[in-house]
């Protein structure tokens, strides 16, 4: 119980410190420190609660044990990372986003297609991965191809829907200008519609990054070679090696966040002109 009380006190203290930091003058430092401190507090809280409440390891291991598992199994984690992220998620992401982009352009070009495709696409977007993945594993085999296919299917719709929305985001006045130039389709696309669409496109790309990893992992639950994050998670759950499960989850979260961060930074550079990025 003392540990629990300690945990709560720690939480309150860290939060107060964060409030001070965020209000402080050095914003650049705050932007790094605050989230780090927040995460650290979460971890400490977790550790203290698990210990304080004597939660069995097979239910929830403490962060220190997870850390130990990460250190002890680095080579395995690396192999799994390569299999799931580099061979499954990234190619699938690239394929899915490219296809979505192409279809969105087509739909934008042909209004009839757009009116017809969007509702249907909305419907397909809601196809649960867990239903699609087994089918794709059946079709594309158990190795990375089916994972890439699952990821491609998953990222397709958010990217497409956002791109279509973005392609119609240019303001009436901006369009009128293009019309006064009698600009052709490609001209207007590259000079107006694409730049104006970028904030939306990146919205889709960002959502897609979180989906990509999840998709690759889910697909591994429905058949995989004997490596990969999803494979290791489900095998380890079966072996009650929960520390390993969380080690893999940590790897996935880290990889996913890094990927997200990369896209977010690119977004800032590409859409520097958008009011939300201006200052």
């Amino acid at each position: 119980m003392t540990l629990v009380a300690l945990a709560l006190a720690l939480w309150a203290g860290a939060w107060a410190l964060n409030v001070r930091l965020a209000a402080g003058p050095d914003q650049r430092r705050a932007a790094l420190l605050v989230p780090a401190l927040f995460g650290l507090t979460l971890l400490m809280l977790w550790e203290l609660l698990v210990r304080g409440l004597a939660v069995p390891m097979v239910i929830l291991p403490a962060p220190s044990r997870i850390g130990a598992a990460i250190a002890a199994n680095a080579p395995i984690l690396w192999t799994d990372f390569v299999q799931t992220v580099l061979r499954g998620a990234l190619p699938g992401y690239a394929i899915g986003c490219a296809a979505a982009f192409a279809v969105a352009l087509l739909a934008d070009r042909v209004p009839l297609l757009r009116r017809g495709l969007l509702p249907v696409a909305g419907m397909m977007a809601a196809l649960p991965v867990v239903g699609v993945a087994p089918i794709l594993v059946m079709w594309f085999g158990f190795d990375w191809q089916s994972k890439a296919a699952t990821v491609a299917v998953m990222v397709f719709f958010p990217v497409m829907v956002n791109t279509v929305a973005g392609l119609s985001a240019a303001e009436a006045m901006q369009r009128d200008l293009m019309r006064t130039y009698g600009a052709g389709y490609w001209s207007a696309l590259s000079r107006l519609h694409l730049p104006a669409a970028m904030p939306f496109v990146f919205n889709g790309l960002k959502i897609a990054t979180t989906l990509a990893l999840v998709g690759a992992i889910v697909a591994e639950f429905f058949g995989s070679p004997i490596r990969g994050i999803g494979f290791r998670i489900s095998t380890s759950v079966g072996q009650l090696a929960l520390d390993m499960v969380w080690a893999e989850i940590a790897v996935a979260a880290l990889a996913g966040s890094a990927f997200y961060g990369l896209i977010a930074v690119t977004e800032k550079r590409v859409t520097f002109w958008h009011p939300s990025n201006r200052d």
């Binding site: 927040f38 995460g39 929830l60 009116r115 419907m123 867990v130 919205n203 999840v214 893999e248 997200y260």
Partner: protein, 334 residues
């Protein structure tokens, strides 16, 4: 408008009715027909795809029935692509593509028949009814969506108003979404179960987990969408943070909110279905998917998928209707 110049009420009503009919006809041509067209094209492609997709089984059946097939040896056929098999045995592949019991790709009519059988021909309360499973899934989805949307809006408000929350929460909200939900879901269920919570709540919790994020992202973007000039205006009124929020940020964010709610409701559905896998395949679309996969019932998997997609479409359409209503009231629809 003077009274004298106005047309009589009767003519006016008739004109309005006519206009409305015409408008409805136009709407039909504008929205329904293209959708039907796209669906028709998809289905046509689907039927075509069934032939190579199911060719291996078709040829196997043909061989069993004693028909000549090329290549004749089963071991030679192994590893050949469905397309190659279909090309070499066109008649058999086409004839047997649509009637298989466990097709690799079921034909639309097979799925349709299954859906029909599982909705219209059994009592809606029976576990054999898709309506029953739909209701099980829907109830958890709605609860989770309500929680998730509320949480998302609250977090977004906090993030926009307080810099600490912006710095600390946003990053970890992103991290929460990169955690493989399918790995977490069983643990959430076991943990909640061990503290005595079971039934709809664990599923709803996972649905909320997936649905809060799009709302946070969209809502933060929306709440920040007012441009400098619009914010300056309120500053000149010395508006409080609350007033700025209510009269500028909130209305400015409404289009973004609805766009994210549409994603969120679909995400909540996916979350519920994911949560239904480990809960022991008891009920709901997730259970149907899973059971179908265990017993090789592809048609059943697909019908559950189609049902889930239809449910999703309905939910999204519902949010869309609410969106139109609200935006029209706000004058944002032109």
């Amino acid at each position: 408008m003077t009274e004298a110049a106005a047309p009589g009420p009767a003519t006016l009503a008739a004109a309005t009715a006519r206009r409305r009919l015409a408008a409805r006809g136009a709407a039909l041509r504008q929205s329904v027909l293209p959708v039907l067209g796209v669906i028709a094209a998809l289905i046509a492609f689907w039927y075509l795809a069934c032939i190579p997709m199911n060719a291996a089984q078709s040829v196997l059946e043909a061989a069993r029935a004693g028909a000549p097939v090329t290549p004749a040896e089963a071991s030679e056929r192994r590893g050949m692509s469905g397309l190659a098999l279909a090309v070499q045995n066109p008649a058999e592949a086409a004839a047997r593509a649509y009637g298989q019991e466990r097709p690799r790709l079921p034909a639309p009519h097979q799925i349709g028949a299954e859906v029909w059988a599982a909705t219209a021909q059994v009592a809606p309360t029976s576990p054999r009814s898709l309506l029953y499973h739909g209701w099980v899934t829907l109830s958890a989805t709605l609860l989770g969506f309500a929680f998730g949307a509320a949480l998302g809006v609250l977090l977004a408000m906090g993030i926009v108003q307080f810099r600490v929350m912006d710095l600390s929460v946003m990053l970890w909200a992103i991290v929460s979404q990169t955690v493989p939900i399918i790995a977490i879901a069983p643990m959430v269920i076991v943990v909640l179960h061990s503290v005595g919570i079971s039934g709809i709540v664990p599923k709803a919790a996972i649905a909320a987990w997936l649905s809060f994020f799009p709302v946070v992202v969209g809502m933060v973007k929306g709440l920040r969408s007012p441009d400098a000039a619009q914010l300056d205006l309120l500053k000149t009124y010395g508006a409080t943070a609350r007033q700025t929020f209510l009269s500028l940020r909130l209305p400015g964010s409404t289009p973004y909110l609805f766009a994210s709610l549409k994603i969120a409701v679909a995400a909540a559905l996916v979350g519920t279905i994911v949560a239904e896998l480990p809960t022991g395949a008891q009920a709901g679309f997730g259970a149907r998917l899973l059971a179908g996969s265990y017993y090789g019932q592809t048609v059943q998997i697909w019908s559950a998928l189609v049902a889930a997609a239809v449910l999703a479409a309905l939910l999204v359409a519902l949010v869309g209707a609410a969106e139109r209503l609200v935006l029209a009231r706000m004058g944002l629809r032109r």
